[in-house]
């Protein structure tokens, strides 16, 4: 059975199949951390600012809405997009040198 592991995108989780060379399915970070629930459905990606650093998180719609409402009050919410974005784009990197 696939295990849940840290995803390469820091702070997130995905399934790990030791027989596969493909990264596994992404999980909702909120559902996994709160109750160990493997929720793969309708995930979105949210960008937040945390301790001066940008982070990208994979969340279900429910957790996204919570994050968005809290983050808009605290100023930590940046934006969200539908679907799972596994890797930051180079243009979003701070000071991204080539």
């Amino acid at each position: 059975m696939d295990e849940v592991r840290q995803a390469h995108l820091p702070g997130n989780f995905e399934l790990y199949d030791p027989d596969s060379s493909e990264p596994g399915a992404a999980l909702c970070k909120g559902c996994w951390e709160e109750g160990g629930v493997r929720n793969f459905s309708a995930l979105d990606t949210v960008w937040i600012k945390e301790e001066g650093r940008e982070a990208m998180l994979w969340l279900c719609r429910g957790h996204l809405e919570n994050m968005k409402s809290e983050g808009e009050k605290s100023g930590t919410f940046i934006r969200s997009v539908n679907g799972v974005v596994r890797y930051p784009a180079l243009s979003t990197l701070q000071g991204g040198r080539r």
């Binding site: 790990y16 493909e22 180079l90 040198r97």
Partner: protein, 201 residues
Amino acid sequence: MMEEALPPGQVWGKKFVIYAALGIPRVDPQKWRLKVDGLVNSPLEYTYAQLTSLPQTRYVKSFFCVTRWSIKDVDWEGVPIRDLVSAASPKPEAKWVMFHCEEGYSAPVPIEDALNADALLAFKLNGKPLSAEQGFPARPFFPNLYAWKSAKWVNRIEFVGGYQDGYWETYGYHERANIWAEERFKEDHGKPVKRTAYGTA
């Protein structure tokens, strides 16, 4: 025979998981060049043919991904990085080495790890030239660092004075990434790493 020690938090896997954060570039070895520059006395540029005709080192060492999977006994072949950069004569003020790659990825490595005797610029993996997915034509390999530092499709080795984030470090991965100290994230334990703005250390 004794089982090889696993660094803390790692598990053995069967296959490499292929990550390509910025895509898989298809590199023409005739056109590819490796630059060695930054804080050096004599910047260098190598062709693929020049590098692969240098004396090669071959060893078997395991591969450790920060996401905890590990591949046992990988056969690596390449040139010790310290051999290929020695002619560039890095300056004493060089403290970090930034590895730049074809597709824009970058990874900073402390100079003591980059110039360690077992740090290779690898051209072969398990007896065959690197595949495109594994970083053809070349990637550094650092046996004691998590694998995001062993940047695929490298094309420039830049000596710098101070630490600066590379691709993954911007998102929280550790500056040095030592596997035995379990330095996965910047807030992880391990020796404190001096963080300075680029060029100010």
